[in-house]
Amino acid sequence: MDIRSQISMVFHLDKCIGCHTCSIACKNIWTDRKGAEYMWWNNVETKPGTGYPSKWEDQDTYKGGWEKKGNSISLKGAGKFKGMKSLFHNSNMPVIDDYYEPWTYKYENLFEAKEGDDQPIARPVSLITGEYITPKSGPNWDDDLAGSEDYAKNDVNFKNLSPAEQEAMFQLERMTLHYLPRMCNHCLNPACVAACPSGAIYKRGEDGVVLINQKKCRAWRMCVTACPYKKSYYNWNTGKSEKCVLCYPRLEAGQAPACHHSCVGRIRYIGVMLYDADKIEAAAASNDEDLVQNQLDIYVDPNDPRVIAAAKENGIHDSTIECAQKSPVYKFVKEWGLALPLHPEFRTLPNLFYVPPLLPTMAFVNEEGTYETTSENFWGAIEKSRLPMGYMASLFSAGNEETIKTVLKKLMAVRLHRREETVGDLPKEEAMGAMKDAVMDKEMADAIFRLTSLPLFDQRFVIPPAHREEAMEMLESTADVKGNSGFGFKEPPVRGL
């Protein structure tokens, strides 16, 4: 057992608004500068849709993530020899047009235009070249588009759906959309770390945050190819790759990452997970259908005395173990089995888990040709939810539909239980039956309800102390740091020659 600690996250998609507040919180702080303007370390996508960068999920094109090779795995498009031989030109790497050309407007024209015979206008100009452009894509171009010919129809997750199921997504009675906020997964088996020739990318020992050392990055850009989530970005100005830093400067101060803090849908949770690093390779090399379960098995019970002992043995701080025991992520992922990894088949063992959304009941057209939406039971059956189960399974369970159904049944059972508690107008057996079916008792249902509906900020975000003093002590006296902190000159991140 090699017990390590990892900061993990849960996004409750049933609560996601798709508002992008998270994206801007991040942008304001981290990527509001030249070369990074096109980067959205945190972005939100409308599903079905092609996302950002366009069709990022299509690993036939981008060759991100790992592939199973016997009992082990290898990087799909990067790696030691594959990567190095394409060092001079990497055919699998997205270029800026796969994201979008960042632009601004000639706002000054509104102030400076001479009196003329027509109204002056601020036209869009490229943020790279300064020339007039007509934006043709953006970081959120297919926002709320849902059933659209150009975007939704090219959603990679459609490939396992039948043509009839695909077509249904474009009919009013059956169509739907939901949101998928995305950021770096700070994976347990990060492909970017594995692919970086310079060794600039590493996981932080104490919390598992994956960082790109800006001093060591040499712009080989293998991380951009290797990350199947396309969450490593190349700064075209500084010639360095950058990615989500999980707001470690904020984490170290006990604050939630900016995107989490600002999540106004309150969909986000953060917490420590203890895991057994010895199991990484085997879990990542599982068969598709076992991927989710085997990943979950890596995470260990923080209340198990053997685990605690092993954790202490590895030098994990008591305060971190305590946080792991209070971790909301552990509850959602392990205790309740409600949250699933995104595209586990990429085999990076991501640490961001999603509770899949409950979507409106499917409707039908009656004999008069009008729209009807009725259901036998109060909320409608999960099977009649608008999104095909296969689609959801393609996102969250490497195609295993049962996994998705189990989660949705649990969510519905909690709702039925709470209806019973607060209203009591449904047949008693409906709630009881649903809970039984979902293997859940009242206590668990209430606990899920409370953490879903009522949590306060510090229940959603249980962040372990960073113990920065211990790190500082290695290099200089902590007392000195206290007195010196902040003094000195800072260098702007200027491009090399």
Binding site: K80, M84, L87, F88, H89, N90, S91, M93, V95, I96, S126, I128, T129, G130, N189, V193, A194, C196, P197, S198, G199, I201, Y202, K203, R204, G205, E206, Q214, K215, K216, C217, R218, A219, W220, R221, Y234, W236, N237, T238, G239, K240, N314, G315, H317, E470, A471, E473, M474, L475, E476, S477, T478, A479, D480, G483, E491, P493, R495, G496, L497
Partner: protein, 240 residues
Amino acid sequence: MSNNFFFIGLPYAALVVLLVGSIMRYMNLGFKISSLSSQFLEGKELFYGSRPFHWGLVFLFFGHLVAFLFPRSVIAWNSVPVRLLILEVSALGFGLSALFGLLILVVRRAKNRRLIMVTSKMDVFVYVILFTQIVSGLWVAYFVRWGSVWFPAVLTPYLKSIFLFDPDISGVAALPLSVQIHIVSAFTLIGMIPFTRFMHFLVYPFRYFYRPYQYVIWNWDRKKIRSSRKLVNGVRSKNN
């Protein structure tokens, strides 16, 4: 006089600058060391430029290196005319490949507005010096033929003399101008390494081949008790 300058002063200056400059840059300005790849802004044409250019240069570089390090083996290899021909033709081929690549790269950079935005003055200089180097090399290859024969005989001793701090420029002084240009431009290139994107070939990631996939860095070893008096970099508290 000028010979001393170009073939003694310049090489030493270049080597010193290379050594000191790149170490200093690496230590102090780590952030500014990057291959400054532009594939992100333009990927298609780069394929036709970068690959022939880089592979051409890589082989030529190693060819020159082999000629310098193992002059006798090269001479031995060349003893059979066919082998000489193969060597010379492939060298010429790599040279042409590099030139072809470079031309594409230059044209690509000049016509693409996005790339102009990320092109520095030093990049222009890099292009000029590379162009000089490659064209002069090709010139030599064509007009001063059988370089692989005379290189071990003339240039290897010269280079050796440089590295042994006993410079002997008699050989090079007598060489045709095109070869001299090639040499001067080579040393200029070497000297400019710390100030240009050339830095990136100094940081070629060999270590990658033998490291494990996952890389975890800790700030401190939690299993050890540390004495606050034993600081890693040996600095003691100045306060209190």
